[in-house]
Structures are given as structure tokens and as C-alpha cells.
């Protein structure tokens, strides 16, 4: 009898538990790693081996490649699942895992680098026929005159973005031609400080877009499929708060046409694993913004509407197996909504870590709660404030909304503030009910 493969889970919280569950279904052994502040994480009771890798600080634990690789060696891991966040999109880590003779559950470092640089990613997407925003052809030149000319051609308003950007850093909105020089200089400076690179590019700025994304899966045998679209427009400060699948009010054939292009792009770039193409959608046009080369927080809404276990499939293709289904097998049925429940003040969005004094997760037909918390668990202040994902499935969008309202009302989390009251407000707002939420709606106070 061959020894089961051992998967080291280089993450924490709900996603670590989610990965443990997928591994168990596949008969794989699991290794949990944790920081000194995380010894009480729920998934650690369900792993085959566990080891504390460092102090509470993420930089010395979940972001410390050397420590994670040492844990992998000591615990005799065969594969590493990075989850999301932390090192999940770090090509150096993916490369180091492979160099150590282990399997990285994700795309190759080369593809991660290609898609991590927004300028090279956009070039690849244009070549693959994926729609992009009109913008500069690559990085803006050093010459102020040439930069001005390029920006004038794009038209105003436009946005200047760092090629290595993320989290809103290295970005400037330019309202008119007179603002170009300052905006480019500031974006370059910020990008240099934040990412060590000063390359910036410019593209058309959309005033009221929705955030629509396409989930893809690809294997090492040249197969790539798309698994439907998600609408992630309910955001505050660039952070998603609620997601749903499929997006309301966008014709199925438009999404299908886009999905086919995304799957084709995966084949073009040699993508392997689960990934997401992110788009802004305005006036019936999709515009590519970036690709996330990892599992997304919101993957469960796609799982609910397609009945495909994305994490399980992700591990399977990392082992070299072909995808277990073809594009024609993928059927998107019904409607799913996810609420990210964060330990935060629902009005100020300030983190609110602390001890959970009461925990009653919602249940019933069509309700899924992905969470690592339990009564007496202490939410530490060191990491992301996500404590649970509540996902509901209904036959229609209206049905799913009703189920989500009931599930949020049933959920009890005592001892800390959560985002539930805000999500309850969103579910009552006219713009959400009409499917007209844009990425700015929440920040502009349009959903009260």
C-alpha cells in the first residue's frame, strides 16, 4: 500500500479548514502550521501533524518562506497548499517549493510572474483576445511630453496604476490634462516605495463599474474551462464584502463569450490550477483588470452553483491528473450569495478582535457556513479579520436573498462586532435588490 501524500497547509483560519476537508475527501494526510498566536485554530484538531512555525507576527510566520519550507521538510510534506493571501501569489515561494522537491498547489512561478506584473498581464490578455481598458501600450515613458500625449489620447478621466500594484497603492485618478505630470510622479514615487519598481501605466477610468470575475480551472494536459461568473461589486475600501453568482442582469451569452476567452487565455499562457480573471463592467463592456493566480475567498458561490469542489479539483490537477470534467459538463444552476463576516465595526470598519462568547451558525437547506470560530475562540489582532463565510443557495436570486436574510438573522456571534448588520442593510437596499450595485456604492453611502 502506498503512503498517502502529505499536504502542508500554509495558511490559517477558515481556508485552512476548508483545505483539510478537501484533503480528507481525497485520502490525503495534512500538516497544519501555525503561529504562536494561533495554537487554538480549529483545523489543527483535524490535521495529521502540526507544528508551530514562529511568533504571532505574520512576517515571522505565515509570510516567512524559510520557516514554512523548514516545517515542510521536518514534517515530510509532499505538497504545499498556499490558500489565499499570505504567500499564495508569491512566485519566489512557488519556485522555492518546487526547488525543494515538493508540489506547489497552484500555477508555475513563471506564470505567476507574468500575471503579477499588470503591464505584462494586460499584453497577454490583449493577445488572447480578452477585452481590456483602452490605455498606454506598456509602461509610461520617462519623457513628460510623450506621457502627456499618450494620456491625452486615452482621454479623461484616466487612472495611473503601478505595474506591480495592489491594494490601491501606486494609483492616481487623473481628471484633466493639467494633472498628468503630478499624478504620474506621485504614483511612481509611491510604487517605488511600496513595491521597489517605479513602472506605471495609464488606462481609462470608469466612473461606476461593477466588479465581475470569471472562475477558471486548468490542468497540465492543456485543458482549461471556465466555471461561471461572480459579481463582487459590494465592496468597501477596495475590500469585497459580498459576492454572488451569477451576476444579475448580464445576459448569459455575454458571460459565456467572455468565459470562453478566459479559458483560451489560460491555454495560451500555460496556466495550471484555479484562477480568476477580474473585470470592470460598465455600459455593457467588460474590461480586464487583473488575474488572481490562486483560490479566491469567494470560490464557494461558484461551488454552490456548479456543484464542483474547486479545492479538490485544484489539488487533483496539481498532482498531474487531468480535470475531472469538461466544459460541457459545467452547468451553472440557481443562485448563490456569500457574505464575508469580518470581526469589524460595521460602521467604521475598524477591526474588532476578541473572545467569541456566543456562536450559533445558521443552518438549514441551502445554507453553508465556512468558519473556523467556536465559542471561547479568541480572534487574534494580528491577521485578516475574516471569521466566517456564510453562503446560501437558492433556485433564483430572490430566493437566495430571502435565504441570506434568514441566515444572517439566525447567526449569533457574541463578544465582538461583526459586519452582519451592514450586510443586512445591503440586503434591504434598492440598488442591491435591483442588481445595480457598483464598486463605489457602499463607500458613497448609496446603500443605506
Amino acid at each position: 500500500m502506498t503512503k498517502p501524500l502529505r499536504v502542508l497547509i500554509a495558511n490559517r483560519g477558515e481556508i485552512a479548514l476548508r483545505i483539510v476537508r478537501a484533503c480528507r475527501l481525497m485520502g490525503l494526510e495534512t500538516i497544519g502550521i501555525y503561529s504562536e498566536a494561533d495554537a487554538d485554530l480549529a483545523h489543527l484538531d483535524h490535521v495529521d501533524a502540526k507544528v508551530c512555525i514562529g511568533p504571532a507576527s505574520a512576517a515571522q510566520s505565515y509570510l516567512d518562506q524559510e520557516r514554512i519550507l523548514r516545517a515542510a521538510r521536518l514534517c515530510q510534506a509532499d505538497m504545499v497548499h498556499p490558500g489565499y493571501g499570505f504567500l499564495s501569489e508569491n512566485p519566489d515561494f512557488a519556485e522555492a517549493v518546487e526547488d525543494a522537491g515538493l508540489i506547489f498547489i497552484g500555477p508555475t512561478a513563471q506564470v505567476m510572474r507574468l500575471m503579477g506584473d499588470k503591464i505584462s498581464a494586460k499584453k497577454e490578455m490583449i493577445a488572447a483576445g480578452v477585452p481590456c481598458l483602452p490605455g498606454s501600450d506598456g509602461a509610461l515613458p520617462d519623457s513628460a511630453q510623450d506621457t502627456q500625449r499618450i494620456c491625452d489620447t486615452i482621454g479623461y478621466p484616466l487612472i495611473v496604476k503601478a505595474s506591480a500594484g495592489g491594494g490601491g497603492r501606486g494609483m492616481r485618478i487623473v481628471e484633466s490634462a493639467t494633472d498628468v505630470a503630478n499624478a504620474v510622479a506621485n504614483a511612481r514615487q509611491e510604487s517605488l516605495l511600496a513595491f521597489g519598481k517605479q513602472d506605471v501605466y495609464a488606462e481609462r477610468f470608469l466612473e461606476s463599474p461593477r466588479h465581475i470575475e470569471i472562475q477558471v480551472m486548468a490542468d497540465r494536459h492543456g485543458h482549461a474551462v471556465w466555471l461561471g461568473a461572480r459579481d463582487c461589486s459590494v465592496q468597501r475600501r477596495h475590500q469585497k464584502l459580498m459576492e454572488e453568482a451569477p451576476p444579475a442582469g448580464i445576459p448569459e451569452q455575454e458571460i459565456a463569450a467572455l468565459g470562453v476567452k478566459c479559458a483560451h487565455a489560460c491555454q495560451q499562457i500555460g496556466y495550471v490550477g484555479a484562477g480568476t480573471f477580474e473585470f470592470l463592467y460598465e455600459d455593457g463592456q467588460f474590461c480586464f483588470i487583473e488575474m488572481n493566480t490562486r483560490l479566491q475567498v469567494e470560490h464557494p458561490v461558484t461551488e454552490m452553483t456548479t456543484s464542483i469542489d474547486i479545492v479538490r479539483e485544484q489539488i487533483s490537477v496539481a498532482r498531474g491528473h487531468p480535470l475531472s470534467f469538461t466544459q460541457t459538463d459545467v452547468k451553472c444552476m440557481g443562485h448563490a450569495i456569500e457574505c464575508r463576516i469580518n470581526a469589524e465595526n460595521p460602521d467604521t470598519f475598524l477591526p474588532n478582535p476578541g473572545k467569541i462568547t456566543e456562536w450559533w451558525p445558521a443552518g438549514g437547506p441551502g445554507v453553508r457556513m465556512d468558519s473556523h470560530i467556536y465559542e471561547s475562540y479568541v480572534v487574534p489582532p494580528y491577521y485578516d479579520s475574516l471569521i466566517a463565510k456564510l453562503i446560501v443557495y437558492g433556485s433564483t436570486r430572490e430566493d437566495a436573498i430571502e435565504r441570506m436574510r434568514a441566515a444572517l438573522a439566525e447567526t449569533r456571534i457574541g463578544g465582538i462586532c461583526t459586519t452582519i448588520p451592514l450586510q443586512q442593510r445591503v440586503l434591504q437596499s434598492e440598488s442591491f435588490l435591483k442588481g445595480m450595485v457598483t464598486v463605489h456604492s457602499l463607500d458613497k453611502g448609496l446603500m443605506k
Partner: protein, 132 residues
């Protein structure tokens, strides 16, 4: 004889914890009919966990922690030994490095919590010490 047995059990009930507390591993006990040689074997983990299960007992012990994640490669003290603060209790190998595991307090080594040559995590308890 029943009386003698009862007295002996009473004596051992008091004597053994005191020996453990002070790191004494053997002693001779004079009896009416001769002499009893008492040698303590190292405590088993389950025994110690049982013995320190009360809040009061647990509060009195201190754990010596691994300085890093690695392999606990060697224990240089035995259970029952009295050690002083800063004494080296064992070593943890981290790649080519061999890190000393120091005693955080003076006292008696109650037990070793981790088998030699096994993986230890960062700041994982390796020895339990009864402070002086």
C-alpha cells in the same frame, strides 16, 4: 503485618512526592524488620499529567520551551535532576545549527515532554520543571 503495610503506604505517599520535588532518585528507609531501598523510576507522561492536572499543581510548574522549530536532538538532563537557571537541558537542531535549550528557572526536571529525535515547534514546551 496489616499495620506495617498501612504505615508503609502512608510513608511512601508522603515520601515519593518529596523525593520527586527535590530531585532525589533513591534512598534507604530504615524499617523495624530491616531496610527498604527506594529507587524512583522516571515519571511517565500520563502519570505526571495526572499529577499536575489540578490548577494548583499546574501553576507550580514551569515549562522550558524550544527556542526554534527543529529537531529535538538531545536531552542532557534526566527527569528528577535538580538544575539551575540557565543550565542547558538539551539541544534543538535547526538545519546545521544546534541551539541550546536553557532552563528558565532553577528547580527539578519533572519530565521531558518530547521524545528525542522528534520534531518540535517554535516555543513548544519540551521540559516541565518544578521550580525551587
Amino acid at each position: 503485618m496489616p499495620d506495617h503495610n498501612t504505615q508503609l503506604i502512608d510513608l511512601l505517599t508522603v515520601l515519593v512526592p518529596r523525593m520527586r520535588e527535590h530531585g532525589i532518585v533513591s534512598c534507604d528507609v530504615p524499617l523495624e524488620e530491616g531496610q527498604l531501598k527506594l529507587e524512583l523510576t522516571p515519571l511517565q507522561i500520563v502519570d505526571v499529567l495526572h499529577n499536575v492536572s489540578t490548577v494548583e499543581s499546574a501553576a507550580r510548574t514551569v515549562d522550558a520551551l524550544s527556542p526554534e522549530m527543529g529537531i529535538f536532538s538531545e536531552a542532557v538532563v534526566e527527569e528528577g535532576l535538580h538544575i539551575t537557571k540557565g543550565a542547558i537541558l538539551g539541544f534543538v537542531d535547526v538545519g546545521p545549527l544546534r541551539l541550546a535549550l536553557d532552563a528558565p528557572v532553577s528547580g527539578t526536571v519533572l519530565l521531558c515532554l518530547v521524545p528525542v529525535n522528534s520534531v518540535v515547534g517554535y516555543h513548544q514546551p519540551v521540559f516541565r520543571i518544578q521550580p525551587d
